[in-house]
Amino acid sequence: MLTILFDGIAYGMLLFVVACGLAVTLGLMNFVNLAHGAFAMAGGYITVILVNRAGLPFLASLPLAFIFTAIVGAVFERTLYVHVYAKSHLEQVLFTIGLVFMSVAAADYAMGSSQVFARTPPELQGQINFFGVGIGRYRLLIILVCGLLTVALQFALASTRFGSRLRAAVDDARVARGLGINVNAVFAVTFAVGSGLAGLGGALGAEILGLDPHFPLKFMIYFLIVVTVGGTSSITGPFIASLLLGIGDVAGKYYVPQFGAFIIYIIMIVVLIWRPQGLFSRAIAK
């Protein structure tokens, strides 16, 4: 059972790393980006190309995946996304769905429609025996990397100038502008970092989540659940929501395979009925 817990935590942290960019985007610019999963997919595929075709070491390709998707994110943000911030949530959803369709088709063409896996180095395969509990090495790596990232994020948010600007802008963009904070620049950087993190998460997660061209559609609901259940006014909300989701999903599929997949949907629906603004946030102003 501890293995399940461990796997669930790994899964949850992976979800968090991918979804936190989405959470900040929503909280900061009130923007619904259903195409967020496409960035994760891009990161996964980049890693696959770098490792399988260019022969780079797996660990080296991770930061490259981050950088690449961050750059793509920045470019998309400045050229495309910036035009839909002021539009209704529905239009934003449709806009990003359009981007998802395009990315799914492009990935299908470029990488084939079957699942692919990056060749992970042998040190990361198999399990370590920890007091009688089998701990997958790969999952251990995920937890370590994601844990470090979470700590780094929390530090950046709480203790850096940029972090306080970001928090101010999330809290009230108008007031933040009035204080002289360049909210658009904050957002561009945040969006890029968020996309990069999604890419990194996708690269790390390809092994576990399964990477195929339909990834953005399959996992869209997971990221959205993390964000709506966790709320958008903090990092801890989505973090806890991700863990809840990861453990719930893994445990559910193991113990109750008939209903495993439902559990997360039901959780989401129940939470949204009970608290439409998420478990941890104030109401989103709209």
């Binding site: 929503l26 619904v32 470019v75 400045r78 050229t79 495309l80 910036v82 035009h83 839909v84 539009k87 209704s88 949530h89 529905l90 239009e91 959803v93 449709l94 806009f95 769905i97 359009g98 981007l99 998802v100 369709f101 395009m102 990315s103 799914v104 088709a105 492009a106 299908d108 063409y109 470029a110 559609l217 869209m220 609901i221 959205l224 659940i225 709506t228 008939q258 997949a261 439902f262 949907y265 039901i266 989401m268 629906i269 949204l272 009925i273 439409p276 603004q277 109401a283 989103i284 709209k286």
Partner: protein, 389 residues
Amino acid sequence: MSVMANPPPKPLVAKAAAHLASRARWSPLEIAFWLAALASIFLLPSKHLILTEIAILGLFAVSLDLILGYAGIVSLGHAAFFGFGAYVAGILAKYGIIKEPILAMLASGVAAAALGFVTSFLVLRGSDLTRLMVTLGVALVLREIANRLEITGGADGLQGVEMQPILGHFAFDIFGKTAYVYSLIVLFVLFLIARRIVNSPFGLSLRSVKGNPLRASAIGIHVNGRLVAVYTIAAAYAGVAGALLTQSTQFASLSVLDFERSADVMLMLIIGGTGYLYGGMIGAVLFKLVQDYLANVNPQYWQFWLGLGLVMMIMFGRVYGAVIATVIFAICMTTNLPFMHQILFTLVVVAVLGLARPDVLKLTSAITERAVAVQKKLKARFTRQPKGS
């Protein structure tokens, strides 16, 4: 309580009555639309299969228009009712529970209405975003259920659906003529009912709820009650559309509950426009034609162009967006580049258009101004008295 001190002047009352009546009057374009639909039965015999699909999608889109265009409820999971109706109809036929197709179709509609009623309370609270999420969640739950249950056939879908003749007399033929006439009649009848509803006091109250729910409740309208009612009706319509699909194709696949279905029907409403009932049907026609064309030209990746169209339409408006997307597509097709290059080319063009969007918008609004001015001139020339507007 104030009693009317002076009854209002007769001419004013007449003017008021005329104004209200004009909204519900059948315009020549409407009549032409339905005549064309009727004619298509006889004039396009080889196209009945795709026309049936269009009629079904049109009904599905009208059902979404009822909640989105008239009541302002956003939903990313309307396929839930479509798929539910589809499966119910399939099960009714396959297990011989209700053999006559019309009865089965009505039963599916009622079943979908029940589902709509039960889930309606989910969309009453929360913001638009919450509604999008919750409706998406419901559709996904339903899809999972269909995936698991034996009675629905699981991942393979519901097979072995055999349809009895309609009213015991009109058998479903392989050319799809029966199916088309059947679907078209159902669409027309349901459309008539919907048209009555939106032009009724109830429909007016829906429009007020969409426009300003706060004020609507402040003049005594039970907002939630109206929303539940229209959501239930829309669910019934979607369920009937799904039932028609199963009955005409004699098969119900898991894809009826896909997210893409909900997204596609949204796209149809964007193309055709919301809030006047015909938008969904026009959108369905255009969507299906475009999709069919793209699927023939570019079998695996037509979704790419669909996505491009969606992106462009949001960025530049419905008309110009479609035009721009078509131009990009045409360039790619005529230059016959390998698809990878087409993708890159498209991305570059999209990025450039994005950077230059303010200028593009200036250009498009200038074009629109010109078009409106020309239209005014033509109108003035063809009418006897110039009406100051």
